[in-house]
């Protein structure tokens, strides 16, 4: 069978070639053992600089106050909440790959799951930063939690913003536990491979004494299944609750029942674009092309067509409902989106999210690295602008024309956005050097003849 004509109904080997278990160890552990090359250092310098600039802007914001940002009445939510929703969305692909595809027995997830889970955690870290900075006094986030206090006050359990705190913190914790659980056997393998005493100590501590015992594997597999079972509804709940931040309000443009599914689809959409983008570089630079194969990338692109089309449907349906509802304010909000002062942002969003991913219907584009890289980048630009459009255009035209205003981001807004990208990529660069980017034990389990035949 030639690679050009892939029979999709047939099971494609997840790992190309037939690497032995020892070869898999060596390939995946290679980046952890060698000293980083120049490309890595140059990239790291760039991302660390971005992070540094963001950290400066964040420090100034904390020190001087939120007056440094462009937010004001009527646009009280600006880049901060846009970035928050964007980053939370990026994280969703990781959980989708690790949990939902696991439950659906999609074995191809093995090659990309670990990396996507790590990305989830880093993205949630980036996301969590924004609401906390938005508090104005970010050293008091405890006020968001219900804790017994001298003021005799409890938080309002009817507020979507409070639900959000619970959703995001649960999401982070469960993702971290899921990720770490997956790492334990790999850390044990690394522990037994390494000759470096310091590394051995660290791996020993974090592998907790794993012995690859089948009396443990039995429970381990069950726990992994349980975690996947919980992470699946959790990931759907998180962006649903994020969308409640908007949908539960009475603002035209936000008050919409389509928001939860629309947000979840958008989150998966942008998350897959990001995973695909970063994996292109990882598989290239760490020689993992036979483990993270073209088939993996193609499957991710297919998921992007599905979710991208769901997002496109939502865009159209929002307009239809605005017309069909007969509500003047609703109609105005949407006409203003497409034709008002922020029309440029709206049309960027439409081009990048509705049109660009449709190119993936063509198989050649789906399997071409430069094309999918470009489309992935466009999708993430589009998805960032989607959140910008939803937040800014809905706010900047209040019910009374006397309260209308515009939103102009300051250098601090932009700096913190750049800094969040810096943080994300810096964490990824560190991650690929200290932990296996592909699950070693899972990859071994899905290579050919890794499982006993029928005897």
């Amino acid at each position: 069978m030639s690679t050009a004509a892939i029979e999709y109904r047939q099971e494609i080997p997840v790992v190309e070639g037939k690497p032995s278990a020892a070869q898999i160890d060596a390939t995946i552990a290679a980046p952890l053992d060698e000293f980083p090359k120049r490309t890595w250092w140059v990239t790291f310098a760039v991302t660390a600089t971005m992070l540094g600039f963001g950290a400066y802007c964040a420090f100034m914001t904390v020190f001087e106050g939120l007056g440094l940002w462009g937010i004001n009445i009527p646009v009280a939510w600006g880049f901060d909440i846009t970035n928050f929703v964007f980053w939370i969305g990026i994280g969703h692909a990781g959980t989708l790959i690790s949990a939902i595809l696991f439950l659906l027995r999609q074995h191809w997830r093995t090659g990309v799951a670990r990396f996507a889970e790590a990305m989830t955690i880093f993205a949630v870290i980036c996301a969590g930063m924004f609401p906390v900075l938005h508090l104005g006094r970010p050293w008091l986030p405890l006020y968001l939690m219900p804790y017994p206090n001298q003021h005799g006050v409890w938080i309002n359990f009817m507020s979507p913003l409070v639900w959000d705190v619970f959703a995001v913190s649960t999401y982070f914790t469960v993702s971290l536990v899921f990720w770490y659980t997956g790492l334990i056997p790999d850390l044990a393998t690394l522990r037994d491979r390494t000759t470096n005493k310091v590394k051995k100590t660290i791996y020993s501590i974090f592998s907790l004494g794993w012995r690859h015992s089948n009396r443990h594997w039995q429970h381990y597999e069950r726990a992994y299944l349980i975690l996947a079972g919980f992470a699946t509804p959790l990931v759907l709940s998180v962006h649903t609750i994020v969308s409640f931040d908007f949908a539960v309000s009475v603002l035209p443009g936000w008050h919409s029942t389509i928001f939860p599914p629309y947000f979840v689809a958008g989150a998966v959409f942008s998350g897959f674009a990001m995973v695909q983008n970063v994996l292109i570089f990882v598989r290239q630079s760490f020689k993992l092309k036979h483990i993270i194969t073209m088939n993996h990338l193609e499957k991710m692109n297919q998921i992007m067509i599905v979710t991208g089309s769901m997002v496109a449907y939502s865009y159209l349906m929002e307009f239809f409902i605005a017309w069909y509802s007969g509500n003047e304010f609703e109609r105005f909000a949407f006409l203003n989106r497409a034709l008002g002062p922020y029309a440029w942002a709206y049309w960027i969003m439409v081009c990048c999210n509705m049109l660009a991913p449709q190119l993936f219907w063509i198989k050649k584009i789906r399997r071409s690295i430069p094309a999918m890289l470009a489309i992935g980048v466009l999708v993430n630009i589009g998805m960032w602008f989607e959140r910008f459009v939803i937040i800014i255009t809905s706010l900047h035209r209040d019910f009374l024309p006397s309260s209308w205003g515009m939103y102009y981001p300051t250098i601090y807004d932009i700096g913190i956005l750049i800094g969040s990208f810096g943080l994300f990529f810096t964490l990824i660069l560190i991650f690929v050097r200290v932990l296996p980017v592909v699950s070693i034990s899972e990859t071994k389990a899905v290579t050919e003849s890794a499982q006993p035949g029928h005897h």
């Binding site: 309002n156 044990a188 069950r222 959790l234």
Partner: protein
Amino acid sequence: MHSRGTIEYNERIMNEGPLYSITALFDTPDEIIHAAEEVSKAGYTRFDINTPYPVHGMDKAMRLRQSRLGIFTLFFGLLGTITAVGFMTWVTLVDYRLVIGGKPFWTWPAFVPIAFEITVLLASVLTVVTMIVLYFRFPNVSHPLHDTPYMKQVSSDKFGISIQANDPKFDEAAVRELLRSIGGRQIGPVYFDADDRAHAPKLFEPKFLGVLALTAILVSGATYFSFNKLLFMQPFSWMSEQNKVKAQTPSDFFKNGIGMRPPVEGTMARGFLPYPFKGKPEEAGKDLVNPLLPMPANLARGKARFLTFCSPCHGNFARGDSRLQGQFPNPPTLHSDKVRNWPDGNIYNVMTEGQNAMPSYASQIPREDRWAIILYIRALQRAEHPKESDFK
């Protein structure tokens, strides 16, 4: 008795303790499944299979019961739901009844997201903790299998079986024979590490105590710094430092360096009246007239002020019976003939300027209140020295 010859694979150079197990390695998953089946069939129960990844069908081959981990998950999940719903119910119905947006106190649909999140949180995190701590007895890095060549291979690409010496059926020669017969390679013993076994963690180990003391110092130092220093630094100081001029402080903004602006010349405070009788009690007595009439309201006001400001020294009935237990010299009674015969202006002057040990009360008691107090003192005097007409 085993010979320490060349065929011994897992030879330990380190301090050896008693035998832990006999191990053998296999190359393929089919072989290890077969091995597990044979060993189970032979009646061994304390043996383990170590493989770099979970091999399908191993539970059956090893005759393991199905994992019961799910029961814990169910328990923790229910615990999470009940805790979350119960807590929110208690807050909204008992501890903090607050009407929000005109909605009922107990709005259960709004509790669903948080109840769901807490359920997922407790169920998933505690399931993993249960698995690691209860089922695996982890963390444990001093298991005899650790750091053996056997472990190094099964964590990479070999499939191993380890039959423990504490198995009731264990007989070294028989076990070796069994392993050999099912195709095991590199058959060899694994021993407990004598050092590990001799080493029992002690509470009063100097190293442990040192770490404990260091942690205590660091934690308490950080806490002290946060609460006593950090909270008073910018920007954590609750906006106590702001770009504004506080009263009575210098400022570079003005030429004369004074932050406050002096009022325009001739400005008088609202309600200010000059007091021309400084040091002239007789004239005050002659010229000043009480502007208030002895109405019940004025008397009540005077009583309240008298009890607050005057009674500590003068006594509740102005008899000069101080309540201060001799901590301050007692003033004379106000029921003396001298005071009773003073005109109101004289008393007013004493309150305004002070007399002997008594300081001025002008800054504490407003003008009208001083006059009201005088009305009340007059009433007290009248009560002590009633006129004939009062008895009618």
